[in-house]
C-alpha cells in the first residue's frame, strides 16, 4: 500500500481583510497517498488555491492539522518550509512564472542550483527538457516560447529535482485544447515513470478527465471525494518524452 504523504484534519484557514475575518477553508479532512493524480475542483472562492498553498507549505493553517511528507507544517519555521519546498515539492503555476531573463535550460538549472546540485545539474536539466520535448528550445528565453512551451518548461522546472509532490494551480487555464492535453499526458507520464504525486487545483474538465481522484471543495469544505474507476486513456504523444527510465532516478 502507498504511503500517505498528505494528511489534513480539520484544516482551516482564515484571512484577515481589514477588520473582517474571511474563512477560506473551514475544516478539511483529506488523505493523499504517494503516486496519486488528484484534482481539487470547485467554484472560484471555494478554497482550492488556499488548500494548495497550505499543502505546498507556502502558508500555515489557522487551525487544524496538516502533515505533508511527514512534516507538521504549522510547526515549521519559514526557513524549514522553504527547505521542504526546495527538496520535496514542485510547483506549476497558472501563469507559468518563469524567470524572464533566463533561458528555458537556465530556468530548470536554477532550481537545481538552489539545491546545491553540482556539475550534473546541467545534464539533469537537459535531460528533463528532452523528456518534455523541449530539447530544441533549451536556449530560448520565455518570451520566445509559446504559452504551451512555457508551461512545459514550468513543469520541467517543477519536476527536475524529482520532488515527491507536485502541486499545479490551474496549469491549463491559459492553454488551448491541444497544449492542455499534451501537458496532462506529460505529467501523467512523469507520475508513471518517477512515482511523483500530482495535486491539481482546477476547474478545467480537461484536467479532471486525466485524474484518478477528484476532491470537490465548496465554501471551504470538502463536499465530494470521488475515486474514478479508471483514468482516461494515456499515451505519450509522438515526439514528446523519452523512453522510461528507472523510477526516482
Amino acid at each position: 500500500m502507498s504511503e500517505t504523504i498528505i494528511t489534513t484534519r480539520g484544516l482551516a484557514k482564515v484571512f484577515q481583510l481589514n477588520k473582517h475575518q474571511v474563512p477560506a477553508l473551514r475544516g478539511v479532512d483529506l488523505d493523499v497517498c504517494e503516486g496519486e493524480f488528484l484534482a481539487v475542483v470547485g467554484p472560484s472562492g471555494s478554497g482550492k488555491t488556499t488548500f494548495l498553498n497550505l499543502v505546498g507549505a507556502l502558508d500555515v493553517p489557522s487551525s487544524g492539522d496538516l502533515m505533508v511528507l511527514g512534516r507538521r507544517i504549522a510547526g515549521l519555521s519559514r526557513r524549514a518550509r522553504a527547505e521542504l519546498r526546495l527538496r520535496s515539492i514542485g510547483f506549476v503555476f497558472q501563469a507559468y512564472n518563469l524567470v524572464p531573463v533566463l533561458t528555458a535550460l537556465e530556468n530548470v538549472e536554477f532550481v537545481l542550483e538552489l539545491q546545491s546540485m553540482g556539475r550534473e545539474r546541467h545534464a539533469r536539466a537537459t535531460q528533463v527538457l528532452d523528456e518534455l520535448g523541449l530539447g530544441d528550445l533549451a536556449n530560448r528565453r520565455p518570451n520566445e516560447l509559446s504559452g504551451g512551451q512555457q508551461q512545459r518548461v514550468a513543469v520541467a522546472r517543477a519536476v527536475a529535482a524529482r520532488p515527491r509532490l507536485v502541486l499545479a494551480d490551474e496549469p491549463t487555464a491559459n492553454l488551448d485544447g491541444e497544449n492542455a492535453e499534451t501537458l496532462m499526458h506529460m505529467m501523467r507520464d512523469l507520475r508513471d515513470r518517477h512515482g511523483m504525486t500530482f495535486v491539481f487545483s482546477t476547474h478545467d474538465p480537461r484536467v479532471v478527465r486525466h485524474t484518478a481522484r477528484v476532491v470537490t471543495l465548496a465554501d471551504g469544505r470538502v463536499v465530494r471525494d470521488e475515486e474514478k474507476p479508471g483514468e482516461a486513456p494515456h499515451e505519450v504523444l509522438p515526439g514528446v518524452g523519452a523512453p522510461p527510465g528507472p523510477a526516482g532516478a
Binding site: N53, L58, N97, V101, E106, V111
Partner: protein
C-alpha cells in the same frame, strides 16, 4: 559558484534599461564627485604637510625634553651635534638643519621691534625654510659671516631700516646681563604676508649663541622626502637622539595648523558623505522599485524553495553589478578631471591672492589633487559600498516576500 544565479542577477540589471542607465549614471556621478573630493583631500594633505614643514616646523624636529610644555626659546638641546648626526643618518632625509632662538630687541634710531631671532646654519636653512630660498632684496646669509642679519619686510619697515643699515640687537644673557651686537641687514624677505614677514629674523647660529649667552642649538629640524613617513621617522629618530632630548612631529609643533587641516578634511569628508548619501538614496529608490515590480517573481522564487538568504544575495549581486557599472562610469567621468587637477591644479589666486597665512604658514593658492593607484580601488569601494548599503533594505524587502500573499495578490 552559482553561475545561473550570477547570470540571473546580471541580466536582471538590464530589464529596465532607462532606470538602470539613470541609476548607473547617478552612481557614476557620485563616484566621480567622491573621487574628486578625495583627490583634493589627499593633495591638500600633501600640500599642507609640505607648507607646514617648509615654513619652519620641518616634518620632525628634535627639541629639548620639556620644550613642548614651555616653548621657551632659551632651551637648548642636550647634545645638538649628536642629534644632528642621528638625524642625518635617518633614511629618506631631504634636508636637516639646526637652529637656536633668542628673544631680541632690534633697534634703529628711535624705532624698536621685539623679535624672535633665529640663529641658523646658512648652508642648510634654505633647504628647510622656503621663505629664505629667494631673498627679494639683498642676499641670504653666508656660512660663518659675522654680524649679518636677514629680516622680513615688515620688520625692516617697523625699524625704518633698509639694506646695509646697521641695527642694534639686544638680548638678555644667562646671568641677567644685557648682551648686544650691531648687525648689518644683508637681505630683506617679502613673503606676501605681514604676519609671516614679522617673524623672519635670521642670523648665524654663533651670533645667537653670543647674544643669548647660551651655547649650542635649540632644535634640529628634519625634512623628509616623503611626508607620509613622518611617524616612522619620528619613531626611528626618537631612539637615537641624545638623552634628555625628544622628537616631535610637525603636527605636535603646530597643533593649531594641524587642527586647521583636520577641520578642513572633516568638512570635505562631510560634503563627500552628503553626495554619497544622495546617491545612496537614489540607488535605494531604484532598487526598491525594481524589487516591488518583481514581487511576484520573488514569490515564485520563494515558492520553489529559494531561501531568504539566497534572495538577499541575489539582490545584492544585482546591486554589485550596478555598482561595477557605476564605478566604470565614475572612472570615465572622474579620471580626466582628477588628472587635470593633479597636473594643472585648482587655481584660487583670484580669491586668495598669492596665498593665505595661517599660524605662520603661507598656503599656496594653487591646490593640486592626488593621482595614483589608489583611485581604482577607491572608486570600486565607493561604488560597491554605496550600492550594497542602498540595496540592503530592498534585499530585506525581497526576502520578506510572503509567497502565498504575493501570488494571491498577483492572481
Amino acid at each position: 559558484m552559482a553561475w545561473v544565479s550570477a547570470k540571473y542577477a546580471v541580466r536582471s540589471v538590464g530589464r529596465n534599461a532607462r532606470r538602470t542607465a539613470l541609476a548607473i549614471l547617478g552612481i557614476g556621478i557620485g563616484c566621480a564627485l567622491a573621487l574628486f573630493m578625495e583627490s583634493i583631500n589627499r593633495g591638500r594633505d600633501e600640500l599642507f604637510a609640505r607648507m607646514g614643514a617648509y615654513s619652519g616646523a620641518g616634518h620632525v624636529r628634535v627639541v629639548p625634553g620639556n620644550w613642548n610644555e614651555r616653548r621657551d626659546p632659551r632651551l637648548r638641546l642636550a647634545d645638538w651635534r649628536h642629534d644632528l648626526a642621528a638625524a642625518r643618518a635617518l633614511p629618506g632625509i631631504a634636508a636637516v638643519t639646526v637652529r637656536a632662538r633668542a628673544q631680541v630687541l632690534l633697534a634703529m634710531g628711535t624705532h624698536v621691534v621685539p623679535v624672535e631671532m633665529v640663529g641658523v646654519d646658512p648652508e642648510n636653512e634654505p633647504r628647510t625654510f622656503r621663505f629664505v630660498q629667494r631673498v627679494q632684496r639683498g642676499r641670504y646669509l653666508r656660512p660663518g659671516e659675522p654680524a649679518a642679519v636677514v629680516v622680513g619686510k615688515a620688520i625692516a619697515e617697523r625699524l625704518n631700516a633698509d639694506l646695509d643699515d646697521e641695527i642694534l640687537a639686544s638680548a638678555m644673557g644667562r646671568g641677567g646681563s644685557i648682551e648686544s651686537a650691531m648687525l648689518r641687514i644683508v637681505g630683506i624677505v617679502t613673503t606676501g604676508s605681514d604676519d609671516v614677514d614679522a617673524g623672519i629674523c635670521q642670523t648665524n647660529l654663533e651670533e645667537v649663541e653670543r647674544l643669548s649667552d647660551l651655547a649650542g642649538a635649540g632644535e634640529v629640524t628634519v625634512i623628509l622626502r616623503d611626508w607620509r613617513q613622518t611617524d616612522a621617522a619620528r619613531a626611528a629618530l626618537a631612539s637615537q637622539v641624545a638623552r634628555g632630548d625628544e622628537v616631535l612631529t610637525w603636527g605636535e609643533i603646530s597643533p593649531e595648523f594641524k587642527g586647521h587641516i583636520e577641520q578642513d578634511k572633516a568638512t570635505s569628508r562631510f560634503i563627500s558623505g552628503v553626495i554619497l548619501l544622495i546617491v545612496l538614496l537614489g540607488v535605494a529608490s531604484a532598487q526598491l522599485a525594481a524589487v516591488l515590480e518583481r514581487r511576484r517573481e520573488f514569490a515564485v522564487l520563494s515558492a520553489v524553495g529559494m531561501s531568504a538568504r539566497r534572495m538577499v544575495r541575489l539582490v545584492l549581486l544585482e546591486a554589485m553589478t550596478l555598482g561595477f557599472a557605476g564605478a566604470v562610469v565614475g572612472l570615465a567621468l572622474g579620471l580626466p578631471v582628477v588628472w587635470r587637477v593633479a597636473t594643472v591644479g585648482l587655481d584660487f589666486r583670484k580669491y586668495m591672492g598669492s596665498g593665505y597665512a595661517f599660524q605662520g604658514v603661507i598656503i599656496d593658492p594653487v591646490f593640486y589633487g592626488d593621482f595614483g593607484l589608489w583611485i581604482v580601488p577607491y572608486v570600486l569601494a565607493v561604488a560597491f559600498g554605496a550600492t550594497i548599503i542602498a540595496s540592503l533594505y530592498p534585499a530585506w524587502f525581497a526576502a520578506r516576500t510572503d509567497p502565498a500573499v504575493a501570488l494571491r495578490v498577483a492572481q
